[in-house]
């Protein structure tokens, strides 16, 4: 796939993702699309970080995934309650992630504590 084809494909997917993320929210939808368009039209990296075109396209692809999977709209239905628009693309975690123990220095292995020599701990 040529770089131009990849760029146009990424642009199309980004626009589609904004439709999903900002459904029925015209001001935010238009603002998001304008931002994406500005970045696409700019030859130079607008953020001034001198990223290559491939890096900028990779960022756009990641933003597209983020828009689809990690943004959820909410509407206030009560004083302290919101109804969330969770859709089929929304990323949902599973309970196993919570059950996993965090790695700690004393959880086994050959690392010593407090900068020790690396003796095995039980």
């Amino acid at each position: 796939m040529s770089q131009a084809s990849r760029a146009l494909k990424a642009y199309r997917n980004a626009l589609r993702a904004t439709s999903v993320a900002f459904k029925n929210d015209l001001p935010t939808l238009n603002a998001a699309r304008n931002e994406i368009r500005t970045h696409m039209k700019s030859l130079e990296d607008p953020k001034g970080t001198n990223r290559s075109i491939d890096e900028r396209l990779k960022l756009l692809e990641e933003v597209t995934v983020f828009l689809r999977r990690n943004i959820v709209q909410g509407r206030k239905v009560d004083e302290d309650k919101y109804r969330l628009n969770i859709h089929k693309d929304t990323e949902l975690g599973d309970n196993d992630d919570i059950k996993k123990k965090k790695d700690s220095p004393s959880s086994g292995g050959f690392t010593g504590c407090c900068g020790g020599s690396g003796a095995k701990t039980s």
Partner: protein, 138 residues
Amino acid sequence: MLRNVSRQLLRSSKVYLPQVAVVRTQTPAFVSPSIISKRFNITQSASTLTKEDVLTRSVSVLRGFEVKTKDIDLQTTFVQDLGMDSLDLNDALVALEEEFDVVFDDKTANEIKTVGEVVDFVLANYLPTEQSINHTIR
């Protein structure tokens, strides 16, 4: 005596046979679909698109963009006639996807040149809407 009594009883007795009611069931008559739809308030939304419908709606969508000409037909090209660049063209394609609930695949999106090609794609890929029933009646 008993025999006489019994004979008299037999002569005077009447035999009552149980009345058997014969109910003749009506054979179901053929009910035409129009009667069913009127009686049960079934509404059928438009399920087919014509080429003219697609063109009219596509023109309406495209006129919402900053284009060089408002005269748009099947032969109109996006780049030469409407003055769109590649990003504008993709803006228009996504707007048309939302209008007709279709998705242009990458190959088609990269090769589309005219409004007529969009119309042909929509007609080939458009899914008709389902029939709706008034649930309050049911």
